[in-house]
Symmetry: C2
Subunit: 595 residues, 2 copies
């Protein structure tokens, strides 16, 4: 391809609203352009990268035995009502009416459509299992589209859906997809971690993994054990050791979990009385720490929530955060929201900031970290007062103890119980999920088993954010000059730059090299623009093609300058050697593909 | 691919609303499924064919120097207001609002988006010309979606847009695209004709061609000269010879076009007086023909229209039909509608059915066919009366004479003036169009020319109905048993069918053959279903894979049955020979690709 007519203008500056580096570089290097908030055009350079990701995804899906197809973007909302998602999906679901006033949704995912379809196509166990996928534009009206392709409203996604005859079958399919995902992200040269994620009410233990590209700007926090292979989204991660297994939840059983001896409540402590203290205007943990000269971990934080309309209290240590997903899962509720002042006052008699667990009549859910405290400071349920020496074991209901907090860095790994968890930020680029019968039950995807009795299909779903991978790759592969594309995804593999269009030898050498490389099936961008060399080199670094061959003043002696974008050194070498180096490097990347 | 788990169920019958054969076969053979009116899912078989069409389109677009990219489906309607299409596009444009009540349209085409984009990227003549394309899902809320993929509301389209510095450049680009289209449709093995089409107010002569796949169910009529290369959509086709050149239009000039001597009005005719005749309840041409015992071509048909609000009359011969597009173009109006009874009465004083040209005070547009009549019967502008012996040259205003009718079969070709036009039905699968400055003017796509002065870019647009091609191909390639895919588009190239799953030799032979062909890069469907042979053969004919190899009772002697779907004969041959035949046939189709 000749750069002069390539529709790709490099920009000196990125617009002010491009907050993250991948967004800035992709705009500046001419890969994407914004049409509206969260809605982007892929210019030829960006589209070439996207096609490469798409192709890798396709090859690995096919290799895993999945079948490609294409479902419509416009989905009748009747289907969404049937699945029950119509009511809960909220404004992210883009709705529209056709000329006959029939309502449609623009598909953010396709569980409903595929389940309905398969229910009409498959009726016997002999046709199972089957995994179907598509690579398609999806629509999601994000409240805050941002970070370029990372959180868009219209984006390219690979979504796959599996149908198995039983759970054991789903398990096999699930790990087959998991493996395919690893191959895909490896081939994309992405630095990533598969992490355990929250599966909500369905899926069960190990029922879902997210594939997280590691990047500081990631919107997810993941907890990783450096000692074993444990890695989990903070939504899901649990702390080990200190609080016992961290998974057995004592809710509703009335039993008090065993606590390690080192932290048991001592006898003399039990003798200490509660003491009401005057804390005028002191509402937050920070203020308490300041005012009383204590540590945050000596405070019991009490939060009032409404859980499907009912007021409850959740207690965590002052230095911990409530993990609402864990609370929701234990309660099996749809909606969990922090209560407003009115609800708080009604439930506790106190204004926000002075709420405490002592004497509460609403259900109290106590994190293990609180149960393990010998004593603590809590709100007094009275304006401007707190209480010292609240002893959970003595003063509070121990009926609902469990894991209700986010892990913090340094928590013990729940798997090996040796390593201390470390935190990373991640961009979710893939997600595998055991759906079970959630959709097949509601949309009637049934089949007859070998004995002729009717069963519900067991489903899984598997997503990859195809366009999002571009952002993740750029976040991980860039420097102060621009993008550094890995060979497998680069829009072109080689950038041939003649320094002077007026120099006949340079142009002839460049043109011949260009043609020779193209004839070998190598993708080459030839900078045939009438620009100053400085501009050309700057643009070249910005665009980030892996290999650059400059045909300049040494061309007269048959030499060119060879440089890899990822390396600093630039070598002057014989044209022939440069050609061989290119072929070698491109070939190496192809070997990786077939592994 | 193994057929047992292929998501493709064959159906005994097509739904009653599948009116055309391509729709029926594609449903029955398991290529597509309807999700809503005009909205289809492509099952794996259908998707494979679609991908092949897509790939052919992509290769030929790239070969023609066009650059692939991807624009969003969601377009801010501000852009449509800027171009002026928002008001005129009507309910086919699907509109929606995002969560902030901003209005978007789902792109039916992308002239606005691309023009705006290019206006921001290109500012110098040195970066022109450039042609950009995308292969993308489009949305159009058809009033009557029907015929399966032929008239859908969500469909796959290739749309390309070119930007040139001048009209000569556009001309070059236009014909380059025209050639690419021919290669594409040839490679798809489509029987088609490029035809001249109406370009409306812009584009000028030769400014647009449609590529019509020939099929009886086509919604377009095309007029073709068997003597020369002339072919035109009936919207555009003109008749030659009889009415002179057929292109010079005498509107507003007051000149009477020359008419060939053989048809001039003779002197004695001029002496014949108009004669009012009583025709109670006789309103239509057919009724007049019946009641008066005349031929339709002896009648002058008078139609009253409102043209942008103004009443006008159009006269054509009784056996001709008004071509409203021609009238619209001559008048340069946006809206042309047949007038309602009220308007007719006001303009002519007569009820519908008795309107005639004599004495009319509104502008009268006379088709040449009428001007060439020596005399005719027309309405008398009075209830239940007509007039005989209306002599256009004597009795009517000749101010606006032109070509205002559809050609009819047998009309003389306007190009060679020798052949008689023949009619065919066609499915529009492609369209190339000179847009000129329509969008670049309004959306500000300007550049500086070599002398530094600002110019408006000259645009062209080029569409291909990718999904529609499937229907066209099936219409042209099917028999009573099902579809007959051409090799280039077939979902699989070879269908290997072991007759009995229980026969070890058959299964071993079939599996080995399957693997060997797959290893050669050939696409094979292996029917590993536990079905009766009759069912397998029937499904095979229905699906229409070009080559079928049945591994049956002859397998023990190392023989298989070889059959091409397009041929009746079935040969028993050595396995090795069958293998060679397949390789040969597949190779032949690949040679065609590189031509």
């Amino acid at each position: 391809m000749r750069q002069n007519t390539l529709l790709s203008t490099t920009l000196r500056e990125a617009p002010a609203d491009a907050e993250v580096i991948s967004h800035q570089w992709m705009l500046r290097a001419g890969f994407i352009r914004q049409l509206a908030a969260g809605i982007y055009t892929y210019l030829p350079l960006g589209w070439r990268v996207l096609r490469k990701v798409e192709q890798i995804v396709r090859e690995e899906m096919d290799r895993a035995g999945a079948q490609e197809m294409l479902m419509p973007a416009m989905q009748p909302t009747e289907l969404w009502k049937e699945s029950g998602r119509y009511a809960v999906y909220g404004p992210e679901l883009i709705r529209l009416h056709d000329r006959h006033e029939r309502e449609f949704a623009l598909g953010p995912t396709h569980e409903e459509v595929i389940t309905k379809l398969v229910s009409g196509e498959i009726s016997s166990y002999r046709r199972l299992p089957v995994t179907l996928y598509q690579i398609q534009t999806k629509f999601r009206d994000e409240r805050r589209p941002r970070f370029g392709l990372l959180r868009g409203r219209e984006f390219l996604m690979k979504d796959a859906y599996s149908f198995d005859a039983d759970w054991a079958g789903l398990d096999q399919t699930y790990w087959k997809m998991y493996d395919a995902y690893q191959r895909i992200f490896n081939r994309c040269a992405l630095k990533y971690r598969p992490v355990e994620a929250d599966a909500g009410a369905i899926g069960g233990e190990g029922g879902t993994h997210e594939f997280m590209a590691l990047a500081d700007i990631g919107e997810d926090t993941i907890a990783v054990c450096p000692h074993c292979e444990y890695a989990a989204n903070i939504e899901k991660a649990v702390a080990g050791a200190v609080a016992g297994t961290g998974t057995g939840i004592g809710i509703g059983t009335g039993t008090v979990p065993q606590t390690p001896g080192s932290l048991t409540v001592e006898q003399e402590d039990l003798a200490q009385e509660q003491e009401k203290i005057h804390t005028p205007g002191i509402r937050t943990i920070d203020q308490l720490v300041q005012a009383l000269g204590v540590e945050a971990n000596e405070i019991i934080k009490t939060l009032i929530y409404t859980a499907d309309g009912q007021a409850i209290a959740v207690l965590v240590r002052g230095d911990h955060e409530v993990n609402e997903i864990k609370v929701k899962n234990v309660l099996s509720v749809e909606n969990l929201e922090i209560a407003n002042a009115e609800v708080v006052a009604k439930a506790t008699g106190a204004p926000v900031g002075f709420v405490g667990p002592v004497g509460l009549t609403i259900p109290v859910f106590m994190d293990r970290g609180v149960a393990d405290m010998s004593r603590g400071i809590a709100g007094a349920n009275e304006q401007d007062y707190h209480i010292r020496n609240v002893q959970p074991k003595r003063d509070l209901s121990l009926e609902h103890i469990g894991d209700f907090r986010n892990v913090v860095e340094g928590d013990i790994c729940p798997r090996c119980e040796e390593g201390s968890l470390q935190f990373y930020r991640g961009i979710e680029v893939g997600h595998v999920f055991k759906l079970g019968t959630k959709y097949s039950e509601k949309l009637g995807a049934r089949f007859l088993d070998a004995s002729g009795s009717e069963q519900v299909m067991i489903m899984g779903c598997y997503g990859i954010g195809v366009s999002r991978i571009l952002s993740a790759i750029v976040e991980q592969n860039q420097d102060e000059q621009g993008i550094i594309w890995p060979m497998a995804l680069a829009p072109f593999q080689v950038h041939v730059i003649p320094v002077s269009l007026k120099d006949e030898i340079q142009m002839k050498t460049a043109e011949e090299l260009y043609q020779r490389l193209v004839d070998c099936g190598i993708e080459v961008l030839l900078d045939d623009r009438d620009e100053r060399p400085g501009v050309k080199f700057k643009d070249s670094d910005l665009i980030g093609i892996p290999i650059r061959i400059v045909v300049g003043k040494h061309a007269a002696e048959g030499n060119v300058e060879f440089k890899e974008r990822a390396r600093a050194e630039q070598k002057i070498m014989k044209l022939e050697d440069a050609f061989s180096c290119v072929v070698e490097l491109v070939k190496a990347s192809r070997v990786q593909k077939s592994l």
